[in-house]
Amino acid sequence: METFAALGHGFAVALQPVNLFWCFVGCFLGTIVGVLPGLGPAATIALLLPLTFGMDPTGGVIMLAGIYFGAKYGGSTTSILLNIPGEASSVVTCLDGYQMARKGRGGAALGIAAIASFVAGTFGIVALTLLAPPIAEFALSFSSPEYFALMVLGLSLVVVLGGSSLLKALLSLLFGLWLTSIGTDLFTSQSRFTFGSSFLLGGIDFMVIAVGVFAIAGVMESIRAREENTPIPVPNRLRELMPSWAELKACRFAFLNGSVTGFIVGVLPGAGSAIASFIAYGVEKAVSRHPEKFGTGVPEGVAAPEGANNADSGGAMVPLLTLGIPGGGSTAILLSALVVWGVKPGPLMMTESPEVFWGLIASLYIGSVMLLVMNLPLVPLFAQILRIPVYVLFPLIFGLALVGAFGVSDNPMNLMLLAGFGLLGYVMAQFGFPPAPLILGFVLGDAMERAVRQSLTMSMGDPAILVERPLSAVMLGLAVLVLISPLLGRLLRRRRAGATA
């Protein structure tokens, strides 16, 4: 009951005309930038973040949430019309979405993607509303050792689930931890890894890293691959965008499947929307009466993955808002953005900043409706963005990145760092190192170091404190299990293969 009263208060905040306006602007801009191929939600949020500087915290946070959800919506457009996934989670949508577009049902495919995103996205937000208060209350009993263990567990899941190579994901994470150490020590004010530069004493701004490794590297990769856009034309009449009754009926289970799968996978750190969409597609195909038709343009092949990658957003908000632990690149950037606003996500957020917390959740509901209403009639307009030649588009992305990097500190040195991190992101991509663990390591590094040092200070330097407390021991044990699970899996497979031979 308390939850609903608080949510009602949140709606009172989110429905204020100025907040409604920012929610609309966030959804609109998020969708526009999200439509661009090569720019996923993480790059979109990082690029558009400077637009929220100078706003009041509630409005800024609401606009950011709009950008996050809008960017997720936009990703499907390129998959369906260009057969180029706008982000990893839209890869599966290409399979049936592009085939539907080739058969002249591109409008219906976009409509189904929008409806599935709305249904599953709303399910994810409802689940977030119900789960967030008890989880936050439980987390209030956490002390430094539990926080440290929780972060270790979260990061272990990220490196195991998030990348193709566990070793490379771990190294990427450690590199992020090093980047976060650059600057002044939290406890003693000792300067670390500053190379004698006074500029580095304040540390590196997360935005410079995020925009560099996601946006600049993304553009470089597109230029390397010589991506050119030639979208399939989209009908511009609303009626032609609406799926038929038969198509909607075929998607009934897909809406439910996408909602549940997406939310559950979203809660797990590191699993991310790409895995959610693959699992939802797999489940859909497995239970279908005509699995052989998947890949030829069936509507449920669009609805399940698109629903899953939007329900995932609600799931990803659970650990972010209740524990202050992001599960992926996008939520890591959201976390840092919230900190810029003076809002600290975690178990105390609900009591310390109730209007921001519940205002944000209420604005997610409003944003979800706004995105549906906006996406159905405006899909032809968004599709026109794909007609902007890449030789115009890429300089615009560079411009946004430069403005953002300079805007955070008014220091031209940030521009050079931005270029450096752009190159780093490109090299990482070529060498097969995933960028998300680096961002997570950077965002969580300070909190992790603080937690472990506070724990050891509490125990007078005895590391046993980390395993003596039951919760902390369980989480660290789980983290070890998670980290050795690929090795165990490989050993089991070898044993089985040996037994069959």
Binding site: W178, R226, G399, A419
Partner: protein, 152 residues
Amino acid sequence: MARRLDRDVLAGVVLAGLGGYVAWRALGWDILTEDGPGPGFFPLGYGTLMVALSALLVLRALLQPRPAEEEADPGGHWRALATWAAFAGAAFVMQWIGFVAGFALLSAFVVVFVFERGWVRGAVVGFSAAAVFWLVFERLMGVGLPAGPWGF
């Protein structure tokens, strides 16, 4: 096969070097004091781990080399790196010539040299993009951008 092997070995060696540097620097700071762990404690931990994991990466690459993927367009890397060089160059000179001129030059370079669309189109895109950014960010939103000797 050689390419794949070289990349993982190269990455492993560079990261092992970085890990070694981190651990060496950390040893110069307090590790454990009477008040608890010092500033060197955490970096020493992840620096050492970085060396160990990098060594594993190198070993894996040497013992289990995987076949290299065929590079469809070898010139692609040079195109991407030339774009990056232009970006870094523009970012560097912006503190003297300002955002507007630096961004206009960068945009024109991308159009003319990376996408080979001709000087006229390059000039139009460069000028228009810089003008739009100046108008939106500097004039409308009041975001401070690096200024050149001509005031913008």
